[in-house]
Subunit: 249 residues, 2 copies
């Protein structure tokens, strides 16, 4: 760490609580500065995932940067901040999250909903349904098959988009809020580990959402951040967007 950064870190540690929405401070604790992304002119950012990413978007909207096509979730709040902050860089942002999806569904629609959009920056948050849907026995997946399908998805991605910057969100759950109880554990931990391992294997930036929500629970109860243990409230949406934005320099 050079002197300027050391100075900033010390200063920000002092003034941290007076800053609203400062990403830099929290960034220090989540991601090493050197690995962060510097947005470039004409970058294309794609948010992929399940309902947490989808969050009520109008799926008929296919153009980038459209407010109705972005939903009401973390992707919308993060996109809104990026388009303001990086105005003039002609950034295109898409949301293609679809409620209920697991990795196999992403695989089926990957050509149309990822490759064809030619993202430079691809953010994926997937996995909670890959576990959740096994609970009633109707879906026969395991943490092992989750990993295999996730690797296949990323191999396909890198084959078609060799220079894409990957961002992987750790699937998370907030215990004791509605759907999420002790019976989720330890199984669900295996799925979280897969996402973390895959992020390392594919040199993706990992957003450790479980840690983000665990820390947030020190500030307010779990049901302040999620409606059902999995889906975000208005506060949770900002919490996730803030964490996502720490991937940027």
């Amino acid at each position: 760490m050079n002197n300027r950064r050391k100075f900033l870190k010390q200063t920000l540690a002092t003034i941290g609580t007076t800053l609203i929405g400062s990403q830099l401070l929290k960034a220090e604790s989540i991601l090493p500065e050197k690995s962060k992304i510097t947005l470039q002119q004409n970058d294309v950012i794609l948010f992929q995932g399940d309902s947490i990413t989808d969050h009520g978007r109008n799926r008929d909207v296919l153009i980038p940067n459209d407010i109705n096509g972005m939903g009401r979730g973390y992707a919308m709040v993060a996109a809104s901040a990026i388009l303001n902050q990086y105005a003039g860089k002609n950034i295109a942002i898409y949301n293609r999250g679809i409620s209920g999806h697991k990795v196999p569904q992403l695989e089926e629609r990957w050509q149309k909903d990822c490759i064809d959009l030619k993202p430079n920056i691809l953010s994926i948050l997937i996995g909670v349904n890959d576990y959740w849907h096994t609970r009633d026995g109707k879906y026969k997946g395991t943490a092992v098959s989750f990993k295999e399908s996730y690797q296949r998805l990323l191999d396909n991605t890198l084959k078609n988009l060799p220079n894409v910057q990957l961002i992987i969100g750790e699937p998370f759950a907030v215990k004791k809020v509605k759907h999420v109880d002790d019976t989720w554990y330890p199984e669900f931990l295996g799925y979280q580990k897969v996402a973390r391992d895959i992020a390392k294997e594919y040199k993706a930036l990992l957003i450790p959402y479980q840690e983000v929500f665990d820390k947030a629970e020190k500030r307010a109860a779990g049901n302040y951040w999620t409606t059902d243990g999995v889906h975000t409230t208005l506060a949770g949406v900002n919490l996730m967007a803030e964490a996502w934005l720490t991937t940027l320099k």
Copy 2:
């Protein structure tokens, strides 16, 4: 300015461009620090206005802090940031903007949509329709009647909520984007002056949105920030939320 603040200001001037979404830096240029609001436990914030505030909210949702009841506009993005930043303070935030409304419509629904909600902090952004609807001759208002009705609204407010902190947004228009052309001027300037004068008269915090959008046009063209000269894009939503958040300490 005490030494600590002087130090911060200098430091932030140095590091400004590395901070994403830092409100403090921009705050310096918009509002004097001493007049800003310190949020208190159990504060109730109400966003009132027209379509710019409404922005597609589900009007059947009457409870505070609900993501569907907040719309997709600046009120949603600002509320989301507040609920994250001030988690634990039990803040309640309502959006009661309604598309197409002018001050007379606010007056009609003020008991139900403002007084009964008992806000501590009341944010009003109104006026663009008070001008706009006169353009086809169907609405007979003037800048003078706008001022009179706005004063009546605030007198009624302060009679019922003597301790409310008022925030008044200056109505704005982005010239040469769709609906807004030279024929809006100078008439529209009169409506903007009313809002600024009223903010002073009622000791409200003024958010100078016209200045905010004028400055933003140096970073990207007008149609990057508004779809039609009046309504916000995804970038514009964040721009406005950012400006709104400068009212907070």
